[in-house]
């Protein structure tokens, strides 16, 4: 049973999850297959306590210890900067603390996060294995173009290299988490243009520009404008 909530799906934040109540939903077909460099890591389960069913909501805190090694965090910082590099609108993934977020995530004691833990730790090991096999050194020691060559094996849905199903599944999950982790931070929200969570005495509704954009779209679809 997935723990995605009904009202969470109502807000359409997790738009791709068509049917979260399907018990034991299968992994996507592309997630299968590997070249032999992928190893599912053997890890002891997280035994720390969660925050309980009645945490203090006004003073949120993460009660479980972080578990990633310095090397894993370093790999995540490199991956975060490749995934979401700095540009004129916002800083890079590592600057926004994505390695800490992923550490918090995979160190959590809950079933979904424990599944991600196995996938992501296996994936971080695969980055090193792939780099060693191709370039004779680990991912952290690789050059920027070597790292990109590895990402390019798995990053593009229409062009996942044969035998890279498991690594591609890892990459997809890491990307999803990094996107959420990045754009939920204040700088990320500013970049993407989230303007809410601020009180007002009346709700202004769409701006003139937003309405004009909508009406132009409707006109193109040959639908009566609003």
């Amino acid at each position: 049973m997935s723990t995605i909530s009904r009202r969470e799906t109502l807000t359409w934040m997790s738009a791709a999850l068509a049917s979260p109540w399907v018990v034991g939903a299968a992994e996507p077909a592309f997630a299968q297959g590997d070249t032999g460099l992928w190893k599912e890591v053997e890890i002891a389960p997280i035994t720390a306590s969660g925050y309980g069913s009645d945490p203090n909501l006004l003073k949120p805190s993460v009660p479980w210890p972080l578990t990633l090694t310095g090397a894993q965090r370093a790999t995540l910082r490199i991956a975060a900067d490749l995934m979401l590099p700095a540009d004129e609108r916002s800083d890079s993934g590592s600057a926004l603390g994505l390695d800490a977020f992923i550490d918090e995530w995979v160190s959590a004691p809950y079933p979904d996060q424990q599944r991600d833990r196995k996938l992501i730790l296996s994936g971080l090991a695969w980055l090193d294995a792939e780099s060693n096999a191709r370039f004779g050194h680990g991912f952290a020691a690789a050059t920027d173009s070597e790292r990109r060559a590895i990402f390019d094996l798995v990053a593009f849905k229409a062009n996942v290299q044969p035998g890279y199903g498991r690594p591609a599944f890892f990459f997809s999950r890491l990307r999803g988490l990094m996107l959420g982790g990045f754009f939920s931070r204040p700088e990320g929200m500013k970049d993407i243009g989230y303007m809410g969570n601020t009180p007002s005495t009346s709700y202004a509704g769409p701006t003139a520009a937003a309405l004009a954009h909508l009406n132009a779209a409707l006109a193109k679809l040959d639908i009566k404008t609003v």
């Binding site: 068509a18 069913s53 006004l58 939920s184």
Partner: protein
Amino acid sequence: MPKSKAAASFEPDVVVVGSGAAGGMAAYALTRAGIKTLVLEAGRDYDPVAETAMFKWNHEAPLRASSTPEKHFGFYDATANGGWDVPGEPYTNAPGSVFRWWRSRMLGGRTNHWGRHVPRFGPYDFKSHSRDGLGMDWPISYDDVAPYYDRTEKLIGVYGTNAGLENHPDSSPGVLHTPPKPRVTELMIKAGANALGIPCVPSRYAVLTKPIDHPHAPRQACFYATPCGRGCAIGAAFQSTTSLLPMAMGTGKARIITNAMVSRIVTGPDGKATGVEYIGKDGSRHFVKARAVVLAASACESARLLLNSKDGGLANSSGQVGKNLMDTTGTNVTGHIPALENRPRYNEDGAEMAHLYIPWWLYKEQAAGKLDFPRGYHYEIGGRFGQPGAGLGMGGNEDGYGQSLKEDARRYYGAQLGFTVRGEMIPNADSYCELDSQVKDKFGLPVLRFHWKWSQHEIRQIAHGMQTAKEIIERLGGKVVGPLLPPEQAIAVGGWIIHEVGTTRMGSSAADSVTDGFGRTWDVDNLVVVDGGVFTTNAHKNPTLTIMALAWRSMDHLADRMRKNEI
């Protein structure tokens, strides 16, 4: 919630089991009639003013406030000590059945976090057997309830409009608050739906858009920020704890005891209820004497209490206690709309939930036998620039990495439309709850065992809802995100929509129902059920408004009988 220190020595006329929508309304209506009322709540005390996580950001919470098995609707959800699983209070499923039971263990119950979508049942919904021969008619009609719909809407505060649609009754003038302006995504759905002949109108939510003044329960107007599911410290979004309960307490006629798990309704030699027994947090047992007992513990919890009160079940001469269990059908369809990519930004929080919705519109086609399913559904619609959390929601367009990924995130943000199907289920013989013969909870009380099966009525309805959503999405030039699963898989499991009702249904005869039209059990004259258990049918319209309207009506009836010393 201020509670009198004297609660333990208080001698009530009526004891109410539960403090949510039904229990809060019962306490309000009874105390208003001058009746001394004791409310027993199984969960802890809860103060939304002090405890609600108003304005807290997702990034401040563990896991970006994602849902977990300890907080199923996310970290900031108001629910305390509740959810799909309550520690120490299990339930079981019969082999082959999947039913999920959401409970809340806190003052105010599920009203602290509920969806607050409050359409009225219409005339057809009370007499649907007469229309299509399925299920059973209610013993009451829309006209019996209409005045209580008006009063309830006015009391709790509802925004919306009178759309004048078939079987979607208007409210009386002056009742509704002005709804907020629609968002771009909603306007687009409306345009696409209208182009296909499908209506899309302002939705009705129990959220104030103007303040309500009350000496004991002053409530502010919505300030269009912070999700309602967290609860509402300013009282704009209705919950029992900022409205009904303080109003009841303000009369001086009410007392509340929390951490009081009612274990048994006690009856005397004449078969009448003499009061209830409850178990305190420390395991101590207490008896509360009362002239009447009101059950408002939620449909399944009240049925369980009746079944646990007597061998074979109290008030169960019909054998209907626990039977006729219904939920609402549900599924989601999401569309990605290229025309919405890179659209101009503005604040789309609004009053949290959808400002427009699509009500059921095919009554005539249904009556003419043109559809292959008998009962309707509605869509709760969505799509917005929401506050990002652990998932961004790019409509399945996540691809690649680097600068292009960053630009894609900006491009696809807010470019999805959502269609949440909510449909009517017809009661069937395979969907019910009973006592589990083996499993007991931490109080030593037998737990519920659920049996569940959807019929083809619901499966075909969901298929229609998915197909029609797809047509609207495609009319808007969009594509459905992900595969459209077969309806048997796409339909949410039983209980998932948290509209479970019917387990103590009202009817016209003691032979096939548990209560009469005032929720009074046929077998025990001074025992009244006011929660969703009394629903004879479960129209696709979210049940809580009807629960409250019926509770008020039944409590007025009880108060009248008590005044006449019939009890």
